[in-house]
């Protein structure tokens, strides 16, 4: 079969508003490693948005990405079907996750962050780490990649905010209890909403456990040229796209990151409403 560049080959709905698509992008697939991302533009008038690569197949030349429909760009992406093409995909971007034999590693994924932690957990497992994964979502139906994570973890813990599956609470609660029980841990890696990563960092700080967070700021260029994604780490301004996305979570100024993530909240609302009106959906929760 001849695939066209940036064509969507597969598409699944993993949970309400969370979709997985498989894209044909062989030049990126041959190079990408765990922890890296791509920048996509869905269409000619679209934004450049970063998306973590959840999986890939070098032989088939494909990338798997998972996203939640939140803003206009992810909505537009979710509307595309098998056979449609994205206008642009650039990557792989950012530095790959450092995969070594650390010993016992806790991999934490929250929300769509679970798809992002998945390849990292998988590679850590391949390097003979003992992988404990903690994954969490708001509720049972929003929990994604459970089977995938189970396959690459020695232990898998699940949390939901409402208790509809696994432990009721946050991933950080599970982490806190584990550490309190004296589980010896050599490294923690967290991917998810900024607030989740911040709390996880706060939990591990007193134990002095090396904790890595994969940051998710607003980006435009993805190659170190615009600095939209800058964030203070260890008292210095760093470019997430180019020097990250992973940083020592104990040094990240999460408060700043969260404020900067909200910089365009009004504009995002305007853009989404306009788009939904155009396609005839009124509220951003149909579908």
């Amino acid at each position: 079969m001849m695939c066209r560049k940036f064509e969507i080959l597969e598409k699944r709905t993993l949970a309400p508003k969370i979709k997985e698509i498989v894209l044909y992008a062989p030049e990126i697939a041959r190079k990408v490693r765990a922890g890296q991302f791509i920048i996509v533009r869905v269409e000619e008038k679209g934004e450049r948005i970063p998306l973590t690569v959840a999986d890939w197949n070098r032989n088939k030349g494909t990338l798997t990405i998972v996203f939640q429909e939140i803003g206009v760009s992810t909505y537009k992406l979710g509307k595309l079907d098998i056979g449609d093409r994205l206008t642009d995909i650039a990557g792989p971007l950012g530095n790959p996750s450092k995969i070594e034999n650390y010993g016992r590693v806790i991999c934490i994924g929250g929300g769509v962050g679970i798809a992002a932690i998945y390849p990292i957990a998988r590679e850590l497992k391949k390097m003979n780490n003992y992988v404990i994964s903690i994954i969490g979502a708001r509720s049972r139906e929003l929990l994604i990649y459970e089977d995938e994570m189970r396959k690459v973890s020695d232990e898998l813990k699940i949390t939901t905010d409402d208790g509809s599956k696994g432990r009721k609470g946050f991933v950080s609660d599970e982490l806190r209890d584990m550490l309190a029980k004296g589980v010896k841990v050599d490294r923690v890696i967290a991917v998810g909403p900024a607030i989740m990563m911040k709390v996880c960092a706060d939990v591990t700080r007193p134990y002095g456990i090396k904790t890595i967070a994969s940051l998710n700021p607003i980006m435009v260029c993805g190659m170190g040229m615009c600095a939209a994604c800058r964030v203070e780490v260890g008292g210095k301004t760093r470019f997430v796209c180019f020097e990250g996305p992973e940083f020592d979570a104990h040094e990240v100024n999460f408060t700043e990151l969260m404020k900067r993530l909200n910089a365009y909240r009004e504009e995002e609302k305007i853009a989404l409403e306009k788009y939904l009106k155009k396609i005839g959906e009124v509220k951003p929760n149909a579908n």
Partner: protein, 462 residues
């Protein structure tokens, strides 16, 4: 014979400028161009040419304009300069050719830039640019050009004409480099850049966007897998910061982000286009170069009520093109000179509210020959703004250097090259801002031309 006054470039009225991104400088009419060309003294020793980084035979093309032989004028310019419609608009002529003009001593040099632009625009209108494809047969050798700014465009065009198979790799989704994402439409219409890019395509150059060399492919992979030589023209695009408290507050942009959102992503058409931009009521632009002027004038067009250039020296020392400083003032940009920010002030939500500044005075000249600004103790004051744009320059793009350890760089991260653009790595060449540090379009072009000459020479020997 009394010397006539310099013909002034017609410009769009200020009110009209503020409502659009239409080009401000309108170009000379044929009559104006001929009239201006007739002022040229045709000095036998061509001082103007010595001021041109690519050595255009200036008196000769001006003579052709005076004789209304525009086609020949165009040919003469094109011998040395592949992109005259662009350089005619953006070169800092006042410190190059026009500074050396004999008439400059009497205050009014020939408007060489305006004449160059006239000829180039004439050639576009007449369709001559279209006809011009002359190309040698393929010699079977492959050259990779990394980056599609003026340096890369020049190398690609030169080598394609000589029969090389050229592939340009560009990280962004659109080729053109700073000409596309940085310099605004009102100063350099994008259709002119597109024309140059289309010209490359017609020469058979393959342009691959969305490819980040250093990530998608390394330089070594390019050399191993396909290419006989690689030219690196990745520019200087990594923003510098003031390194003062508060620089990451919301509504502080780097000029690159601000201009990229607008020029490349068309945020001025939000929400028709998805990329947003926020421009407040009072905007402070920090810096005194072309980039600062472009950002300030763009902010005004996007509806800011007051826009200030905050610069630590005086207008004399500003590195921006003189025309753009004049245009900025005409449009209402205000100048807060001899002023240096020391701290950005935010509110409880980390949203920018103002800049704490200190007054400066000028001391002795520094290494650049400009007088060094010195802070005046106790002169701090608060400058209220709700948007700040930092335009104090850029480092060279470091990705390739970091992923290619064999490539030697200097302490500023610039790729070290010889006079002909050869790097420390065999078959690898570099030019433009990535080798020079922040420079100009014409210098990028000039170093590109040297590198293409060297590549041709070196590969011929193989």
């Amino acid at each position: 014979m009394p010397i006539r006054r310099r013909v002034e470039m017609p410009k769009l009225p200020v009110e009209e400028r503020m409502r659009s991104f239409k080009e401000v400088a309108l170009g000379l009419t044929e009559e104006q161009a001929v009239q201006e060309a007739e002022r040229c003294l045709q000095c036998p020793h061509h001082p103007c040419t010595s001021g041109c980084p690519v050595g255009i035979d200036i008196p000769k093309f001006i003579k052709m304009i005076a004789e209304r032989n525009f086609r020949e004028a165009y040919r003469i310019i094109k011998e040395k300069n592949a992109i005259p419609a662009i350089t005619g608009r953006v070169c800092p002529q006042e410190v190059q050719c026009e500074m050396k003009c004999t008439l400059a001593r009497m205050g009014e040099p020939i408007a060489i830039g305006a004449l160059e632009r006239f000829v180039a625009d004439w050639a576009i209108r007449e369709g001559i640019v279209e006809e011009e494809i002359v190309k040698e047969d393929s010699n079977g050798m492959n050259v990779a050009v990394v980056g599609s700014g003026p340096a890369g465009i020049t190398v690609a065009a030169d080598l394609a004409k000589l029969g090389y198979d050229v592939t340009v790799f560009e990280a962004l989704h659109k080729p053109g480099g700073v000409l596309v994402y940085g310099i605004p439409e009102f100063r350099l219409p994008k259709r002119i850049v597109e024309l140059e890019i289309n010209y490359l395509k017609r020469l058979g150059v393959e342009i691959k966007t969305n490819i980040i060399i250093g990530r998608t492919y390394t330089i070594e992979e390019l050399l191993k897998e396909k290419f006989d030589a690689v030219f690196i023209g990745t520019g200087a695009g990594m923003p510098k910061f003031l390194n003062i408290p508060g620089e990451n507050l919301v509504n502080i942009y780097t000029a690159n982000e601000f201009l990229t959102r607008i020029n490349l992503m068309k945020a001025y058409l939000f929400p028709e286009y998805d990329t947003p931009i926020k421009v407040g009521r009072r905007v402070g632009v920090i810096g005194g170069g072309n980039v600062a002027m472009d950002a300030a004038r763009t902010a005004l067009r996007l509806g800011a009520e007051e826009v200030y250039i905050i610069y630590r020296r005086t207008e004399r020392e500003m590195p921006a093109r003189r025309d753009e400083v004049i245009n900025a003032k005409e449009e209402g940009v205000k100048f807060q000179l001899l002023t240096q920010p020391v701290k950005f002030i935010g509110d409880e939500n980390e949203i920018l509210r103002g800049i704490q500044c200190i007054k400066m005075k000028l001391g002795e000249p520094d290494a650049t020959g400009r007088r060094r600004p010195i802070p005046i103790p106790g002169s701090e004051f608060n400058f209220e703004v709700d948007t700040a744009i930092v335009a104090i320059g850029c480092h060279v793009n470091p990705l390739i250097q970091r992923t290619t350890p064999q490539l030697k760089t200097n302490k500023w991260g610039c790729i070290i090259v010889d006079d002909w653009g050869r790097t420390s790595m065999k078959r690898v060449y570099a030019g433009g801002d990535v080798a020079l540090g922040e420079a100009t379009v014409i210098q990028a072009m000039g170093t590109g031309r040297k590198a293409s000459t060297a590549i041709h020479q070196d590969l011929k020997k193989k």
